[in-house]
């Protein structure tokens, strides 16, 4: 009787390992400093844009200052100094003056700060990113995926998602097609995710103008981006938003712009091996017990 149960359990575990095989690769993109920097510029511009929108709102300014400190830290300043000492000094200084002017409620000064900072950031791009990489569509597409990663992270926090929206393996593949609105628990993160999603869409639109030859994929991605923005604006559940990104945007970006993905760890094989080890241990234990 016990043996039958063990055999059944073994069959279940092995089957689950085989069934686990995902219908698509999880999109783990490799690092690229140039793409990271392009994404960083877009993210900083988005955050300072929100600071300009929330002048005198200390809670919002506090939130966006924290976000900015994530995107531009001491290491970024140091790396910029290796290429341009003026920008090394001016970028963090202008970020700080934007924040302090916003706290002081000086709308005109903030507007001037934001304009100046955007100019410095644009200047920083050719300084920090080599020309070949700057003109490389794969690098630009990779930068879009990096911004999308931030969107999913912020949106997940905004809706208090129990799963990591960036982890494709946590997607409910057979989920209901009916979309549901979910409550927003963090309004600033929600607003931030919408802003970053719009920034990612804008980056993609810029990419499209430079790559008219990829019109088939570009059309699909454009449609997916529109739906993605709509879903976020409609406060769609995490799984819907994940589907937009992982099943619609990412695969087409990967195919169109030849983005290299890191191979997924073979979870099915791991499950099968673990189950076998488990059965061996159990049977050994049982055989020893029977001999006694």
């Amino acid at each position: 009787m016990n043996n039958k149960i063990i055999a059944l359990l073994l069959a279940v575990v092995i089957s689950s390992g085989l069934i686990y095989t995902h219908p698509a690769y999880a999109h783990n993109f490799g690092g690229d400093e140039s793409a990271s920097f392009l994404a960083k510029v877009s993210e900083i511009k988005t955050e300072v844009g929100f600071i300009a929108k929330h002048v005198s709102d200390s809670a919002a300014i506090g939130y966006y200052s924290d976000a900015l400190s994530e995107y531009w830290n001491a290491n970024d300043t140091k790396e910029m100094g290796e290429r341009n000492t003026l920008l090394q000094k001016e970028i963090p200084a202008t970020i700080n003056s934007t924040i302090s002017d916003a706290r002081a409620g000086n709308q005109d000064a903030v507007k001037a700060d934001v304009s100046q900072l955007n100019g410095y950031l644009d200047e920083a791009i050719p300084v920090r990113v080599d020309k070949d990489k700057l003109n490389n569509s794969t690098v630009q597409a990779l930068a879009v995926t990096f911004v999308l990663k931030e969107v999913l992270e912020k949106y997940g926090d905004a809706v208090n998602s129990t799963v990591n929206l960036n982890d494709m393996s946590q997607m409910n593949m057979g989920g209901s097609m009916q979309q549901m609105s979910v409550p927003i628990v963090d309004q600033l993160k929600y607003e931030n995710s919408i802003g970053l999603a719009s920034a990612a869409q804008q980056m993609f639109n810029d990419l499209v103008t430079k790559n008219p030859d990829k019109s088939t994929y570009n059309d699909k991605i454009s449609t997916a981006f529109t739906k993605f923005l709509q879903d976020i604006n409609n406060k769609a559940d995490g799984n819907t938003v994940m589907t937009d990104v992982h099943m619609q945007i990412h695969p087409n970006l990967v195919s169109a712009y030849n983005i290299q993905t890191v191979p997924e760890f073979p979870m099915p094989a791991l499950l099968v091996i673990i189950s076998i080890v488990g059965v061996i241990v159990i049977t050994r234990f049982r055989s020893i017990k029977l001999r006694q």
Binding site: L86, P126, A269
Partner: protein, 234 residues
């Protein structure tokens, strides 16, 4: 007494004239040219002046908005500008990057290889201001004026014909080598592509084989388990 003073003054003036025309006098570096376009001041020049051929230098462009001392630097001024350098009928597109010291100033490292007049051709917009102009740069002087001893002084003029032939031969060799290098680069690119395809296939096979191994080992364990059960029953 008066004549002595006059003589001294004349000699002093003569000495000053001689020195001011001497090549050893250090001339002021500012040979930059500023042009006004609407409300914008565009200044161009060389980073290091005087300019000599064969020495690394950089054309600079500085953009300010306003007039006089109150003019303020324009950040990211060249975002929508196409700038090329012209020598005779030859032009080259330049990529300007922000200077490390002055706001609103941009540099593009360049090694002027020939003596003569260079100019910057600027087309595009600075903020809303349309720009379409050609501004001359300070002339590039020959490095020979600084050379000592003259590097070409030992060359016999009778050998010039031979040197020309050798140069022609070298040029064709270089051209051939360039073609070979291009085809080699193409081959490398093809190999890289093939390697990537192999890598993708290997990744897929890795997943399949791992799953296969797992199932195989499971089958063996089940078989062993079944056999041992059979043995127990007997």
């Amino acid at each position: 007494m008066k004549t002595r003073i006059m003589a001294l003054a004349t000699i002093s003036i003569l000495i000053l004239l001689v020195f001011s025309n001497s090549p050893f006098v250090i001339k002021p570096a500012s040979a930059h040219i500023t042009k006004v376009f609407g409300n914008y001041l565009v200044t161009v020049g060389w980073q290091n002046e005087p300019v000599y051929n064969g020495l690394l230098n950089a054309p600079i462009v500085e953009v300010k908005k306003g007039s006089g001392d109150s003019a303020k630097p324009v950040i990211n001024a060249l975002a929508n500008m196409q700038i090329s350098i012209k020598y005779g009928s030859v032009t080259k597109q330049l990529d300007f990057v922000p200077d490390s010291t002055v706001d609103g100033q941009y540099v593009s490292p360049l090694l002027p290889s020939r003596v003569g007049t260079y100019s910057l051709i600027m087309k595009g917009t600075i903020e809303d201001q349309q720009i379409d102009t050609e501004i001359p740069l300070d002339d590039v002087a020959s490095i020979d004026t600084l050379n000592f001893p003259q590097s070409g002084s030992s060359v016999d003029t009778s050998n010039i014909g031979q040197i020309g032939t050798i140069i022609n031969q070298l040029t064709s060799d270089i051209e051939e080598a360039k073609n070979n290098a291009n085809s080699a680069a193409q081959n490398v690119a093809n190999v890289g592509k093939s390697f990537q395809e192999v890598k993708d296939t290997t990744d897929r096979l890795y997943l399949i084989s791992m799953a296969g191994i797992g199932i195989g080992v499971a089958g063996i364990v089940i078989a062993v388990f079944a056999l041992s059960r059979k043995g127990e029953k007997i």
